[in-house]
């Protein structure tokens, strides 16, 4: 009986995925999962138990997709068969759809690993079904308050779910106190990753800092330095909570043309050099999370570093396109910290002048409340606005985006409001600057990406061919 239900659930889901793609109604990442779960509620736990070596779950506010894809890349390159829920299908229905789509009844496609990125709010439901061998937590920032309530509640949700798990190992960001505390508060075996102090750290906290108080005793945390947002070296004056000594620590990070380099120091004393073809400090954190995870799964340190070098960014993660010989970067933005990271990467882009497009939608998946735009430091863009020819604001909330930029101090003569994505993309590409940067919220990203693909080629220059910094 159970078998029959599973069979029907799988057939239905596969058929739906096929139909949805045929009709061009999307990528079939959610509806087939929800139907399959209705037919057979045990679908996820049943199918995930067939994964041979274990299920890895990545959660946290930012960097889930990148970290998860990096882990999958390393494991696949190492010869493993990996099931993955791509394209942000990170709620329970998306996870169910990924299993239903990839697995079949004869078990002939047996997987060694399943790598799942899971939304924080969906984490308890997914984790209790898949019983992960390891859980990776990237960071906790404020995200879409109108859907999840407050950050404290989200963290408590994750913490309580973790307490129910036995034998699960954690991979935790040592530099984020909100994440690092989970090692002690859940009692689970934990591996910590982080970035050591370097020339780019600051002594001053930023405005969007989330963690101010010790999760154990409530004292205000003291910081020696900040990496960005609340990430840094902290300690509590009231109790013995402080940044854990990382097991895997990036040291002396350096930025190349479109890659980031660092040395990785292990607690045991050895070190390797790591190079990832992605931009920005936040991506270095994602790479270190993925690297620490695969070491925990017994991957060889040298090999894992080599595999990571061949990683390719997913859609909208500072993805590079080529338009008539000039680079176009597409980046997803969904909360103040992520947006600040995107702006930071944009400002760091060396050389020529820029054209910028920002597309803001306010559908459920974007967060209906866009007041978080006022917590983003657009003032940094105002400081270098002479390098930026034009800001094209698009999406349902194009006007409000332009308004935000105006109050950041950007001249209104540089602001263009063009709600229609087609018009906006063609305007920004036609801007004539040396580089183009497009930032878009979740539901704006897909239409923009589709339109952009019509004009520009995806740039797949292998990292090996990029010039090295000396």
């Amino acid at each position: 009986m159970k078998k029959a239900r599973l069979f029907i659930a799988l057939i239905t889901a596969k058929l739906l995925v096929f139909l949805i793609r045929l009709l061009g109604r999307g990528k079939g990442t959610s509806l087939p999962g929800s139907i399959a779960l209705k037919i057979y509620p045990g679908l996820i736990s049943d199918l995930s138990s067939r994964v041979r070596k274990g299920v890895i779950v990545v959660t946290g506010t930012n960097g889930k997709t990148t970290t998860n894809n990096m882990i999958a890349r390393i494991l696949e390159a190492g010869g493993g068969r990996v099931l993955i829920n791509r394209e942000g299908a990170n709620l329970i229905n998306g996870v169910a759809a990924a299993f239903a789509r990839e697995m079949n009844f004869l078990n002939s496609r047996a997987f060694d690993y399943a790598c799942l990125e899971v939304d924080e709010a969906a984490f308890p439901g997914v984790a209790s079904r898949v019983r992960p061998c390891c859980v990776v937590i990237t960071n906790f920032f404020r995200d879409q308050l109108d859907r999840y309530g407050e950050l404290d509640r989200t963290i408590a949700l994750v913490r309580n779910a973790l307490k129910e798990m036995e034998g699960t190992r954690l991979v935790l960001n040592a530099d984020d106190p909100l994440v690092a505390q989970l090692g002690r508060s859940t009692g689970l075996q934990s591996v910590f990753y982080g970035v050591a102090e370097h020339g780019g750290v600051t002594r001053q906290g930023a405005a969007a800092r989330e963690a101010k108080f010790c999760p154990f005793c409530g004292h205000e945390l003291a910081y020696r330095y900040y990496q960005y947002s609340q990430l840094g070296s902290y300690s509590c004056p009231g109790c013995d909570f402080s940044r854990p000594d990382p097991d895997v620590e990036g040291t002396s990070p350096r930025r190349g043309g479109s890659f980031t380099q660092c040395r990785v120091r292990f607690r045991q004393g050895s070190a390797v050099s790591l190079e990832v073809p992605v931009y920005g400090m936040y991506n270095l954190y994602n790479a270190l999370a993925a690297y620490a995870t695969t070491l925990l799964l017994d991957m060889d340190p040298q090999k894992a570093a080599g595999f990571l070098k061949g990683y390719r960014p997913a859609t909208g993660r500072m993805e590079r396109f080529d338009y008539r010989g000039k680079p176009v970067y597409l980046n997803l933005v969904k909360n103040p910290t992520g947006f600040n990271e995107g702006i930071g990467a944009l400002v760091e882009m060396s050389g020529a002048d820029l054209n910028v497009m920002i597309a803001i939608n306010d559908n459920d998946a974007d967060g209906r409340d866009i007041s978080w735009l006022w917590d983003v430091d657009f003032e940094i863009l105002a400081d270098c606005q002479e390098r930026i020819r034009e800001f094209v604001c698009s999406g349902y909330r194009a006007e409000e985006m332009a308004l935000r930029l105006k109050y950041a101090g950007i001249l209104t003569s540089r602001l263009v409001v063009e709600g229609d994505f087609n018009e906006a993309v063609s305007r920004v590409l036609g801007g004539g600057a040396g580089k183009t940067c497009i930032l878009a919220t979740y539901t704006a990203l897909w239409p923009v990406e589709r339109i952009l693909s019509g004009y520009a080629k995806r740039d797949h220059t292998p990292a090996e061919h990029l010039p090295h910094v000396s």
């Binding site: 007041s371 909330r397 109050y407």
Partner: protein
């Protein structure tokens, strides 16, 4: 105003370290920029827990909202300053209080379990906790300085606020407002404006900002406010109005 002296306003931003939810700082940015564009200088005084402040010297006080823990830290600190704040309000200092700040100016907040958290008792209003959160875009018709306008913003609150002998800020055209029942949103008393609308309120509704600036300016000098080009502000406002109320 004597010639050659630049007018200067003192803005008081209450608990910026604690209350930084929902883009609250956008309200401060809007107030500041709209002064600067008119060649009115501003000095922003950030008041955090334990800091002392002379409310009487201020030309505008902003009080935002925070999460529960932040809210209670703020309430404890502000309780010590309540007398001085009340005196400033009675003396006509313009105040904008949003969400938690709005509730705190009232008599009390009664939680779902019946616990009473006392407020500062400066304004005749009280708040009851609600089972569900009232969330979404809002349009409110207001009359400020004799002009009828429609403000837009976003609300997200579980408290239901009821007014005693106080005027509401305006009439709800779309959304929930103070309590989802009486069709009223916010409160007004002297030069105090209270509202559940963040979104943030001031940038998107420049006539509210200018009203608050005008109140402050009028107390010091007799100079009229220079009009500004508000085409971007008003288009952001009208896009939302069209969505909520139809063309």
């Amino acid at each position: 105003m004597p010639r050659g002296i630049t007018p200067r306003l003192n803005i008081c931003h209450m608990y910026p370290d604690l209350l930084n939810l929902y883009g609250d700082r956008g309200n401060i940015m809007a107030y500041r920029m709209r002064c600067l564009w008119r060649e009115i200088e501003v000095a922003i005084h950030q008041v955090n827990i334990g800091d002392s402040v002379d409310f009487d010297r201020m030309d505008f006080i902003f009080l935002g909202g925070g999460s529960d823990r932040e809210q209670s830290l703020m309430a404890a600190d502000l309780a010590e300053k309540a007398g001085a704040l009340e005196q400033a309000i009675e003396g006509g200092v313009p105040v904008l209080a949003i969400c938690g700040g709005y509730q705190l100016l009232g008599k009390y907040y009664k939680t779902l379990t019946g616990d009473i958290i006392p407020g500062l008792g400066i304004l005749d209003l009280y708040t009851d906790g609600g089972e569900t959160r009232l969330i979404g875009n809002v349009a409110v018709e207001v009359e400020l300085g004799g002009i009828r306008q429609t403000i837009t913003g976003f609300e997200n609150h579980s408290g239901r606020t009821c007014l005693g002998k106080l005027d509401p800020l305006g009439k709800v055209m779309a959304g929930h407002g103070n309590n989802g029942r009486d069709g009223m949103e916010g409160a007004r008393y002297k030069n105090v404006i209270c509202s559940y609308l963040h979104g943030p309120l001031l940038p998107k509704n420049p006539f509210v900002t200018d009203y608050l600036i005008a109140c402050a300016v009028k107390r010091k000098w007799s100079i009229p406010l220079k009009p500004l080009d508000d085409s971007i502000e008003m288009s952001a406002n009208s896009v939302m109005l069209k969505r909520l109320l139809g063309p």
